[in-house]
């Protein structure tokens, strides 16, 4: 966090925020993560040592507050941190509009499922326990299959079969579901082009896109 040697508020803000990973940690906190390993799931490629360092830095700066609640470390945003919402939103809108291209390295099934499960519209799901399986046919090994369960109004991701009844089975490549989730393409277009397939009774098949939805950024208008 070297100083820019400028009195400008933008420079002072960036002294804190331009360090690698910092904004992404803030994003996770804004999305509701409060514990160390919860945060890690949102920034899986970040080393735990560095995450600790960033959390300490944000705490020193007054952006977050750390507390032990029932023996667990709990990180919460202060008012100062909460207001970074405007900054993260502006970045999200700009990134959505202007950085369309994703490299293969940007795709990550675990991260995708984690992101979907925490911000999909569960109120659209049936009241009963419901389970969907996802299969990414271009991802080899264990990371190619995932289960999404909504039980008692609580969403859950699994990388193993929980053993419940399957309501729908979805197959696509990783890029397709990522692009659908980001709103780069629509469910209907992807289904029509057979880039994604939903195997389920007709009524459920029609409902599933509404269960999963799209990320909040998907609603951002794209440049003409």
């Amino acid at each position: 966090m070297t100083s820019y040697g400028q009195f400008c508020p933008v420079a002072k803000a960036m002294e804190l925020l331009d360090e690698r990973w910092t904004i992404l940690v803030v994003r996770e906190l804004l999305l509701g993560s409060r514990h160390f390993n919860e945060l890690r799931r949102g920034v899986p490629k970040m080393s735990p040592a560095l995450l600790t360092k960033r959390l300490r830095g944000l705490e020193r700066a007054g952006v977050i507050r750390r507390a032990e609640v029932g023996g667990r470390s709990t990180y919460t945003l202060t008012d100062m941190g909460q207001e970074l919402h405007q900054v993260v939103m502006a970045l999200s809108v700009w990134g959505t509009r202007w950085i369309g291209e994703l490299g293969d390295a940007d795709l990550d099934p675990h991260l995708l499922m984690w992101d979907i499960h925490r911000s999909m519209p569960i109120e659209a799901w049936p009241r009963r326990r419901t389970m969907i399986r996802f299969r990414f046919h271009d991802v080899i090994g264990k990371a190619g299959t995932w289960w999404l369960v909504v039980d008692a109004g609580r969403p859950q991701v699994c990388d193993f079969d929980p053993g419940y009844d399957l309501d729908a089975d979805i197959a696509s490549d990783l890029r397709t579901l990522t692009e659908i989730w980001r709103g780069d393409i629509g469910w209907q277009d992807a289904l029509r082009d057979n880039r994604i397939e939903i195997d389920a009774p007709a009524a459920i098949s029609r409902a599933v896109p509404g269960w999963i939805g799209q990320s909040t950024a998907a609603a951002v208008a794209r440049p003409a």
Copy 2:
């Protein structure tokens, strides 16, 4: 610009924007700088080699466009770059509200005069050529004295005496004028406490704060 390995638009945006100095260069372009040495004045502590590198990076990313106009290199923001205005604004607001403390290293007379001259309300100045001298009594040597001239509606900073008639003579320490400019303190309070002094005929003395004004960020409401 190492990848974060995330499809999230915030992550993709930060891959470009979290590199040191990048946002400050964009800020300069948003404020109207278009040429290399003009940009340098806004980021004086940045090495020219690094500025070149950042400009190339921003060009590759599509944020700016470079052209030779009349044998001069000219950098302009594309639509993509123009929309970073929202991001820079959000950072400016947040920085203004929450990063109040300035270290001595954040103070820079040249930068302050440059910033004042390019965004002060010249329409408030007299029609005739008008000149003000600034003296920072805590800054030793040449950098302690500055002249601000508005002539034919065009503002100009000098670090030498242009030799015109002096309309007002302002004295303060560097921190005081910086804080006034940022809006951390008001002109009236600073004058009352003798933290700044204006030597001029009474009518002009009263008018000068309105001539200089405050930076646009000064209008941002501070947290209670």
